[in-house]
């Protein structure tokens, strides 16, 4: 164990931003639920009515967790945050463990350390302690925030402590995952799959077979029943699970060689497939995994949003603030709600579009472009390949988001025509999404050091969507968001002028980005 504390101090220094953003983000997730619930419902009667609607909505239960005490602020906070909070601490723990163990081993930096007079287990122990500490910070900040917000202290602490325990459990599974594979990405894949499976098990369990929920650590966390008769013993399951998985991780670590994993590294193809020989083929190959991830995410997002069906009126409540917050336009409340949802899904899709449009920038940054552009592949063809993937991928994720939204809406309401209708409605936001992608491309061509601005543009669009009416932001500022120019479908009728106008702007930005890139130095 020699050197553990020295290493831990070094790790903490490397992780200092993680220690800020993860706890703050997760605490905000929890407290903001209380804030939004309290803002949404003016009277308890209204609250009771909404809660009754939610209790009977199987889709919402599958998404969030068992419905308990939903007509109280604490119950709502627990219900809406616990499952997602557990996923977040799981991811945080996974990244902390992964970056200090398998990633270090994969890059060979760990070899330097192990040759120094530090114990064999020092790095791994320091990584585990690091994750344990981080989860403590998350729990402390979340608990303190909930108490400060005014919720019952005992239950607030129970909810926060359960979160920490969940994080510890997933620390253990991440330690095991890091022993199994030789690549960090694969280790993240396994640890992430454990988190996903835990979530899926409890979703199935909560709607149909309670036994399944008891097979999931997230289910254990929710079985602590914070704000609805808090009990601590399910937390012991989490603690025991964390102890067992960490112990297994150490046992495997002792039995394997440096740099190796339990699962053998899979060899890949010795020859390139026929399609890998053009700019487009390469771009597709490089982006397809990320595209698949976004596609699944947006499909699930759409499915999740659509589960609210037509019970929107009850969910939203009657206060003007909440209407300003979640509704677009003046008309029918259901239409207004879905107009907002469609734009929110479109902005999620813009996340793919921007990251895809910035992929060439990432490639250039990683130094992989020189060799490519020293072949007969013209710069324009290299970039056009990535552009094509961005545009086609954007259309694809929009279609999937719309189909997901429509499908679950149709299942809840019985309105079968919603599938095609909502798919088209989302597809019609494509020009606005592609304007953001085009802006990213222009930045890559013109100001490659300022590509972060592309994400700021998306943030601005989101702020305008959510707070534009509420804060009465000036019109010129709201007009900066491309989404503001689209017709608010389904509140308003679809209009071709803004659709075509935005498409033209997107194309112009993209072409300008191409030209700028062709004229500048490649690094």
């Amino acid at each position: 164990m020699t050197g553990t504390l020295v290493l831990l101090r070094a790790f903490l220094r490397r992780d200092r931003w993680m220690y800020l953003w993860w706890p703050v983000g997760i605490a905000i997730l929890y407290v903001s639920q209380g804030w939004s619930v309290d803002g949404l419902y003016a009277t308890q009667a209204e609250f009771d009515k909404a809660a009754a609607g939610m209790e009977n909505n199987a889709a919402l239960i599958a998404m969030a967790g068992p419905a308990r005490a939903l007509n109280t602020t604490g119950g709502q906070v627990t219900w809406q945050s616990a499952a997602f909070g557990a996923i977040l601490v799981g991811l945080m723990s996974m990244f902390i463990v992964g970056r200090h163990t398998r990633a270090e081993e994969e890059t060979g930096r760990d070899e330097l350390l192990r040759a120094a007079p530090v114990g064999r287990h020092a790095a791994m122990t320091a990584a585990v302690l690091d994750a344990v500490l981080a989860n403590l910070v998350v729990g402390a900040l979340t608990g303190a925030s909930l108490v400060a917000y005014g919720l019952a202290p005992a239950d607030s602490i129970g909810l926060a402590a359960g979160l920490t325990l969940c994080g510890w459990f997933f620390t253990g599974t991440a330690v095991v995952a890091a022993q199994l594979t030789t690549s960090t990405r694969a280790a993240y894949g396994i640890a992430g799959a454990v988190i996903g499976l835990s979530y899926a098990l409890r979703a199935l369990g909560d709607i149909s077979a309670p036994a399944l929920s008891w097979m999931s650590p997230i289910g254990w966390y929710q079985a602590m029943h914070a704000f609805s008769g808090l009990r601590w013993w399910p937390g012991l399951l989490l603690l025991a699970g964390a102890g067992v998985t960490v112990a297994v991780g150490y046992a495997v670590f002792d039995r394997r060689d440096f740099g190796s994993g339990v699962l053998p590294a899979r060899p890949g193809p010795a020859r390139a497939s026929r399609s890998l020989g053009t700019g487009l083929g390469l771009a597709w190959r490089l982006q397809r995994a990320a595209l698949a991830g976004w596609a699944v995410g947006l499909l699930l997002g759409g499915l999740g949003f659509g589960t609210m069906g037509d019970d929107v009126g009850d969910l939203v409540g009657d206060s003007q603030t909440s209407r300003d917050l979640v509704l677009q336009g003046g008309g029918d409340i259901v239409d207004g709600f879905y107009a907002t949802l469609i734009l929110m899904l479109a902005m999620l899709a813009a996340g793919f579009a921007i990251s895809s449009a910035l992929r060439p920038h990432g490639e250039e940054d990683a130094g992989r472009v020189e060799v490519l552009l020293a072949t007969a592949l013209p710069r324009s063809a290299w970039l056009a390949g990535h552009d094509a993937v961005t545009v086609a991928g954007t259309l694809m994720v929009l279609v999937l988001a719309g189909a997901g939204l429509g499908t679950s809406y149709a299942l809840v309401t019985g309105d079968g025509s919603a599938v095609a209708r909502m798919t088209v409605e989302l597809l019609m936001t494509a020009p606005a999404v592609l304007v953001l992608a085009g802006f990213a491309r222009l930045l890559h061509g013109l100001l490659p050091r300022a590509t972060l601005l592309a994400w700021l543009a998306l943030l601005l669009s989101y702020v305008v969507l959510i707070f534009g009416e509420l804060l009465d932001l000036p019109q010129w500022f709201q007009d900066l968001s491309p989404f503001e120019h689209l017709a608010l479908v389904p509140v308003e009728d679809f209009r071709w002028t803004p659709f075509l106008g935005l498409a033209a702007v997107a194309a112009a930005l993209s072409v300008a980005g191409q030209i700028a890139f062709r004229r500048r130095d490649v690094h």
Partner: protein, 301 residues
């Protein structure tokens, strides 16, 4: 093949290339020598149309490397000093990809090179060591059907065995009448492989010629045991650093003045004689010697 005259490239206030001249003729292996930061890589990047020149004249196969980049690139293959591979593509896939983008691979040569360089093409980019990444790029370049190889410190990370395979490959490539521009700071490699050498410093070419021509510009060191004490060596033109210890003499002589020195030694009666021809290292140190004193300046790479 390559004609560069008065090339200037600046990055902000740094003048990375400052009037550089470089000529490479068909069929020669041309060594491009200089320490880190002298501007070798910058020159190559301008030559490949990756960077835009600020001033000067650059011709590649008689064309403009910036305007006609893609067309000209069909005839050359480039290996950078620091090869970055895609983490999720295998070495075999990268070799095929680069080969296809260059316009086709020689299948037989690809298989032969994989064997000679002892590379496993099924491993993913992320799991290759530095030397193996280098091999991937070298195999992709050597298996392509091209007229010109542009190599930027291509053997960094290769073990001595692989370095010798690399040398064989370059010899074979040259024997087919092809051309190589080899940037390096490994002098033994350049001495062994190159027909002509250009030495650059702070973004300008300070010396260029065949190795024999360059040797001419430097001194040979001579040590001799003599029958009697030598007379008048100091006075001979082109002789430097004479040390006489009884009947043993050591001196440095300009290569052009060797005859006179040998005559003078013969008069004294030679018992044994060793002479050390100038190495590339001497040449190099002569141009960069003051860098060691800390007076040299560093250009951008």
């Amino acid at each position: 093949m390559i004609d560069i005259a008065g090339l200037v490239k600046t990055f902000g206030s740094v003048r990375a290339l400052d009037g550089l001249d470089l000529g490479v003729a068909q069929g020669e292996v041309h060594g491009f020598l200089g320490p880190n930061g002298a501007g070798k890589s910058t020159t190559i990047r301008v030559l490949l149309g990756l960077l835009r020149k600020d001033e000067g004249e650059v011709r590649l196969f008689g064309g403009d490397p910036w305007r006609d980049a893609a067309r000209l690139h069909g005839r050359l293959a480039y290996v950078p000093g620091d090869v970055n591979l895609w983490p999720n593509l295998t070495g075999g896939e990268v070799i095929d990809l680069l080969g296809r983008l260059r316009g086709g691979l020689d299948e037989r040569r690809r298989a032969d090179l994989l064997q000679r360089f002892d590379l496993d093409p099924t491993k993913k980019g992320r799991s290759y060591s530095k030397g193996n990444r280098q091999k991937v790029a070298l195999i992709a370049a050597l298996a392509s059907d091209v007229d010109l190889l542009v190599l930027d410190e291509p053997t960094s990370g290769l073990d001595p065995l692989m370095e010798s395979v690399f040398r064989e490959c370059i010899d074979e490539f040259r024997s087919e009448g092809h051309t190589v521009l080899l940037s390096s700071h490994i002098l033994a490699e350049v001495e062994r492989l190159c027909d002509r050498v250009s030495i650059i410093r702070s973004g300008a070419c300070v010396e260029s010629g065949t190795l024999a021509e360059l040797r001419h510009l430097t001194r040979t060191s001579v040590t001799a045991d003599l029958a009697s004490a030598p007379v008048g060596l100091d006075a001979l033109p082109g002789v430097h650093d004479v040390e006489i210890d009884n009947h043993r003499v050591h001196l440095e002589v300009d290569t052009t003045a060797l005859d006179a020195v040998l005559d003078a030694l013969q008069v004294a009666g030679v018992r044994s004689l060793t002479s050390q021809p100038p190495t590339l290292e001497d040449l190099f140190l002569r141009h960069y010697g003051d860098r060691i004193d800390g007076t040299g300046e560093d250009g951008g790479r």
